[in-house]
């Protein structure tokens, strides 16, 4: 795996990966990616002194099976919808696999274990476990793994709304971010594009 892919992966982990980076990750060598992804998370957990109860779960095979089942529904959508949902699925797989991939071999042997678990646990959504109250200091490993979601940069409607919101937001931000009037360059440069 080259450094570009590694950087993209690190970006994905922080929820900052662009669509391009996501594609780069998806087209790279799968095994190497999974290993690196697991390593990244393991080292972060060690850094944070956290022990996850999901450490040894591997639900990747089950997720794959679910996706296979979902494909029928997806194929009804139009081209771009398919593309977006495909990305979303890829992203959610990435998010869920993190939890399960630590310390186990993704391709050999693990599917048996997952199959054994199926009857007992049913559907498992560990990525949804994080919820913190307003003001609480909470950084969970799951939160960091969640991807940025689909980007709507090409949607003209959404773009227009974004500009209007950014303008209103800047009215509020300019007095609070230490930059003052300079903040409006963000709005102006956008409008003149």
């Amino acid at each position: 795996m080259n450094d570009t892919v590694r950087e993209s992966l690190s970006a994905l982990m922080d929820g900052e990966a662009s669509e391009l980076e996501l594609r780069r990750i998806l087209s790279a060598d799968e095994h190497a990616i999974r290993t690196e992804w697991a390593d990244l998370h393991r080292s972060q957990q060690i850094l944070k002194n956290e022990v996850s109860p999901y450490m040894n779960w591997d639900i990747s095979a089950r997720v794959m099976a679910e996706i296979e089942g979902d494909e029928l529904i997806n194929s009804v959508g139009t081209g771009w919808k398919q593309a977006v949902s495909g990305l979303a699925i890829a992203a959610s797989v990435a998010a869920v696999v993190v939890v399960g991939s630590l310390g186990s071999n993704m391709f050999g042997g693990s599917s048996q274990m997952v199959a054994d678990n199926n009857g007992v646990s049913g559907r498992v959504y560990p990525a949804q476990t994080s919820s913190a109250t307003v003001g609480g200091v909470a950084v969970s490993a799951q939160a960091q793994a969640s991807p940025a979601g689909p980007l709507l940069n090409n949607d003209a409607e959404a773009r227009k709304r974004f500009e209007a919101y950014l303008r209103k937001h800047t009215d509020r931000a300019a007095f609070n971010n230490g930059q003052g009037m300079v903040s409006y360059a963000r709005v102006v440069s956008q409008e003149s594009e």
Binding site: E7, S10, A11, D14, G15, E16, S18, L47, K48, N49, V84, S131, A132, T133, V134, G135, G136, V137, A138, V139, A143, Q144, S146, A148, G149, P150, L151, L152, N153, D155, E157, A158, R159, R161, F162, Y165, L166, K168, H169, D171, R172, A173, A174, F175, N176, N177, G178, Q179, G180, M181, V182, Y184, A185, R186, V188, S189, Q190, E191, S192
Partner: protein
């Protein structure tokens, strides 16, 4: 443990910075929050977004206790903004959060960012001190700020993501601090709105608003906003600012807006939109924060049962 390590690292940095201590760094940061409102100056500023560079002339004066500001674009389409009559004593929460530092280092702003003095330099022909401000969690962006040694004016600002990649950059290329305070007037400029905002006495606005985010990152304080209580909320941690906007999905009975969930990104600014069909509303979080933050805040919105 990590905090202690950071402190040790900080101490090491301090020991190696002969002229500036952390105190003077935070002092300068504090200065930054008000000097740009108090001084008379004219400046040329460049704004860089990816491979795009644009430039602006900024004029700021204080006359009879009122601020006047103008921003004129110097390339591309003519775009001018003015803002005047803002009371110089008007208090905003962002600077207040940064000021808290002097009281207690582990409080407020400094609890969420590590501030290091990176060195000294020159920007726009002025001597500067460069501060590296790194977020302690994944919900904020990082900053590299070059502040004018004499005035504390922010002369260069890089906003960087968690991978330290620069998302946008402001840089002064010329600064003139000797302009008369009645120097002014840009013709045909657009007046900028000033929201009367103060530190959030949430109780007064909660009565009107029926929605709220159930999660915001620690350290973000809501601004109290005298207008639009029902449509917008803004939070700041002293450097990062994010706003939540809520709009009905249906403008009229027949005219439904199609809203797809997703994010937008431009420079350091992102937005994330989530539809709440069961409430007939959609919410958009906009701000200079990581996409992750915007998304999580947008998704956490809930409505009071009516």
């Amino acid at each position: 443990m990590i905090v202690r390590l950071t402190c040790a690292a900080l101490a090491a940095v301090l020991a190696s910075a002969p002229v500036f201590s952390l105190d003077s760094g935070s002092e300068l940061l504090n200065k930054m929050t008000h000097s740009h409102r108090e001084l008379n100056y004219r400046a040329i500023v460049t704004y860089q977004l990816g491979d795009q560079l644009s430039s602006y002339r900024i004029t700021h004066t204080v006359h009879d206790g009122k601020e006047f500001e103008a921003l004129e674009s110097l390339d591309g389409d003519h775009q001018d903004l003015v803002h005047h009559g803002h009371d110089i004593n008007c208090v905003h929460p962002g600077p207040q959060l940064i000021r808290l530092v002097n009281a207690d280092e582990e409080q407020g702003f400094y609890r969420y960012y590590d501030v290091d003095i990176e060195g000294e330099g020159r920007v726009a022909g002025r001597d500067t001190v460069t501060l590296s401000i790194k977020p302690r969690d994944v919900y904020r962006l990082g900053y590299t700020l070059s502040l004018d040694k004499e005035t504390g004016l922010l002369l260069r600002s890089d906003i960087v993501n968690q991978q330290r990649k620069v998302l946008e950059r402001f840089q002064y290329v010329m600064l003139d601090l000797n302009i008369p305070d009645d120097e002014l007037i840009v013709d045909g400029a657009i007046e900028v709105e000033h929201k009367h905002v103060a530190l959030g006495a949430g109780a007064t606005t909660a009565r009107i608003r029926v929605w709220r985010p159930n999660w915001i990152p620690a350290g973000f304080t809501p601004l109290k906003d005298t207008g639009e209580e029902n449509a917008a909320l803004t939070y700041t941690d002293g450097l990062a600012v994010m706003s939540v906007f809520v709009e009905p999905l249906l403008k009229t009975e027949s005219d439904a807006i199609s809203v797809s969930e997703g994010g937008m990104r431009r420079g350091a600014s992102v937005s994330y939109t989530v539809a709440f069909p069961e409430n007939g509303m959609f919410a958009t979080v906009v701000g200079e924060v990581p996409m992750l933050t915007a998304k999580q805040v947008a998704k956490s919105l809930s409505w009071e049962p009516r």
